[in-house]
């Protein structure tokens, strides 16, 4: 069962579209957010029911877009951009640095479950490259030192909450 808050948000979303299927993408975002950042087969089934589409349709949609996750991400999910402008000013080196620091590879969650890392295409922040998104926030003109400091802070936060 979806949490009451999530249900309310979904009802709100549905009211903004002519047909229920139109609200599929925003609904998936809301449901994913309400479930620690990932979707499960049960949730997909529920969303399919709400949007009046087949579960196969929902699965097809999930696999097309990069932002829907079927595995639980870290408490802090890092998207490191290595697209053209970021690459020109150190995006790849930044990704390598993060992978080393966390002893993991892009596409994985580090052992402690605090961080997960993903290599992504352009984030639309190219004039402020290299760019990294952590959960929903942009961090720009990054370099290894700045990112280390930020991650230290987050790690402390993450452990305090755990």
């Amino acid at each position: 069962m979806l949490a009451l808050d999530t249900q309310k948000e979904i009802a709100q979303l549905l009211s903004r579209y002519p047909i229920k299927r139109n609200a599929l993408l925003p609904i998936l975002h809301v449901v994913q957010k309400g479930n620690e950042g990932y979707l499960t087969p049960e949730l997909l089934e529920e969303v399919a029911g709400i949007c009046e589409v087949s579960q196969t349709h929902v699965e097809g949609v999930i696999s097309f877009y990069t932002m829907y996750k079927l595995e639980k991400p870290g408490k802090f999910h890092l998207q490191v951009c290595t697209c053209v402008p970021c690459c020109l000013v150190g995006g790849e080196e930044l990704l390598e640095h993060v992978e080393q620091q966390l002893d993991t590879h892009a596409g994985h969650t580090a052992d402690d479950g605090v961080f997960s890392v993903e290599e992504v295409e352009c984030l639309g922040a190219c004039s402020y490259a290299p760019a990294v998104i952590i959960n929903e926030d942009y961090h720009e003109q990054m370099n290894p030192e700045k990112l280390d400091r930020l991650m230290d802070e987050l790690r402390t936060q993450g452990q305090a909450h755990a």
Binding site: N22, P26, Y65, T66, V84, V89, E121, G124, C126, S127
Partner: protein, 419 residues
């Protein structure tokens, strides 16, 4: 010394600007909307035609003309969908407008809805742009609370609703018909045209898709008139526009310029030149899909037409600068990797071509290139141009063909070095 034009960025460049509805009104906002409400829809369309406004999303199509194609009297609702997908590598201008002056953009969108008789407009924002989505939603809430949006626009006009719709990470959804599939709740696959969206768009209803910056030009055009807008550029290239400057420049950033600025001045005056005293090697002038320019080709007017004449394009006005130390083979590999990742897979020349091109470039990087492969790479690039459902094929073909022509020697050098 090139100076910034301040039309779209008038408020943004004011350090004391308060971006709330109150602040926007204080800065003279919503005057244009009030005026537009007194006009007939056709008059707004005509004014926009007269202003010479061309789309800022990439194709430069005349906006007023596009609006005039909307199918009439179909008995179906009409839609305006704003393209805020902003995912062409190098481009980050629309987000400035959405983050720092959302009301100016929304006023433009409301005026445009009046022009095409839209009663519920959607803003398709790329999913990663949560900060922009929050900024827009907060601004929309203010408009509803103030009775500007809703049952009666400004308390006396037609019903108008606006909804922000988040995407979910897919470059191809920036292509307008893929965007429509996506907002309908499907995978984002570009559609075969015709029918064009103006006849059959969102949920098969007449629809116009316009870019954020395009719509943001409307308040100025309504307030100051078509001639005033035209004055910001040469014939057929009206108005100021936003450029996203990135890569090897001292001052990367988003700047507003007239459409008759020189590309070289943009790089050296706004960008402050190349860092560390290095020499310029080349410039990708209009997003990753535009043909590259070498250092001695940058003395060109930065307008739609002048760039087209120079064999490239303005595209989304994303200028990516690279210095003498840049490995162009690696750079092209990075560009092609992007397109191969983002191909939706519907058309063989694009799905296979982007992959093969990437494999051939990788051969060069691994020391397995040769003259034969260079020719083949060039040919593969050509084969995906004009043979696909959407322009992504061309978008990948252009950099391939221009890099292999203009920097052919560097491909040979990589080879010599590896041998």
């Amino acid at each position: 010394m090139l100076e910034e034009t301040l039309i779209l960025f008038r408020n943004i460049r004011n350090p004391d600007y308060d971006k709330s509805l109150k602040g926007y009104k204080k800065a003279g906002g919503l005057k244009a909307l009030k005026q537009a409400l007194e006009m007939q829809p056709d008059e707004i369309v005509q004014l926009t035609k007269d202003s010479g406004l061309r789309g800022r999303g990439g194709a430069g199509f005349p906006t007023g003309l596009k609006w005039s194609f909307m199918a009439k009297d179909t008995g179906k609702p009409t839609y305006l969908v704003c393209n805020a997908d902003e995912s062409e590598p190098g481009t980050c201008k629309d987000r400035e407008l959405m983050l720092h002056d959302p009301h100016q953009f929304l006023e433009g969108m409301m005026i445009s809805c009046l022009a095409i008789g839209c009663r519920h407009g959607y803003i398709y924002v790329r999913g990663e742009y949560w900060p922009s989505i929050k900024s827009l939603n907060a601004a929309l809430q203010e408009l509803y609370d103030d009775g500007i949006l809703g049952k009666k626009l400004l308390g006396k006009g037609p019903k108008l609703d606006l909804t922000v719709h988040p995407g979910a990470g897919a470059y191809i959804c920036g292509e307008e018909t893929a965007l429509l599939d996506s907002i309908e709740g499907k995978r984002g696959h570009p559609r075969v045209k015709p029918p064009f969206p103006a006849v059959s768009g969102f949920n098969a209803c007449p629809t116009t898709v316009n870019n954020v910056e395009t719509l943001t030009c409307l308040p100025f055009i309504v307030n100051e008139g078509a001639e005033a807008f035209k004055a910001f550029g040469p014939e057929n290239n009206a108005g100021p526009h936003l450029i996203s400057l990135s890569g090897h420049v001292n001052k990367p950033g988003v700047y507003e310029v007239r459409l008759d600025a020189n590309l070289k001045d943009i790089i050296y005056d706004f960008g402050g030149g190349i860092p560390n005293g290095k020499q310029l090697k080349g410039v990708i002038p209009g997003g990753a899909s535009s043909s590259v320019l070498t250092a001695d080709e940058i003395d060109v007017t930065y307008s739609f037409d002048a760039l087209a004449q120079a064999g490239t394009m303005m595209g989304s006005a994303a200028i990516m600068v690279f210095d003498e130390d840049t490995d162009v083979v690696k750079l092209l590999h990075r560009i092609v990797r992007f397109f191969s990742h983002e191909s939706c897979g519907q058309c063989t020349p694009c799905r296979e071509g982007t992959h093969w091109a990437r494999m051939i470039i990788r051969d060069f990087l691994n020391g397995n290139g040769n003259e034969h492969k260079l020719k083949r790479l060039h040919r593969v690039g050509g084969n995906m141009m004009g043979t696909t459902v959407c322009a992504l094929g061309d978008a990948c073909g252009m950099p391939i063909q221009s890099f292999t022509t203009k920097f052919a020697d560097e491909f040979r050098d990589v080879q010599a070095l590896a041998a």
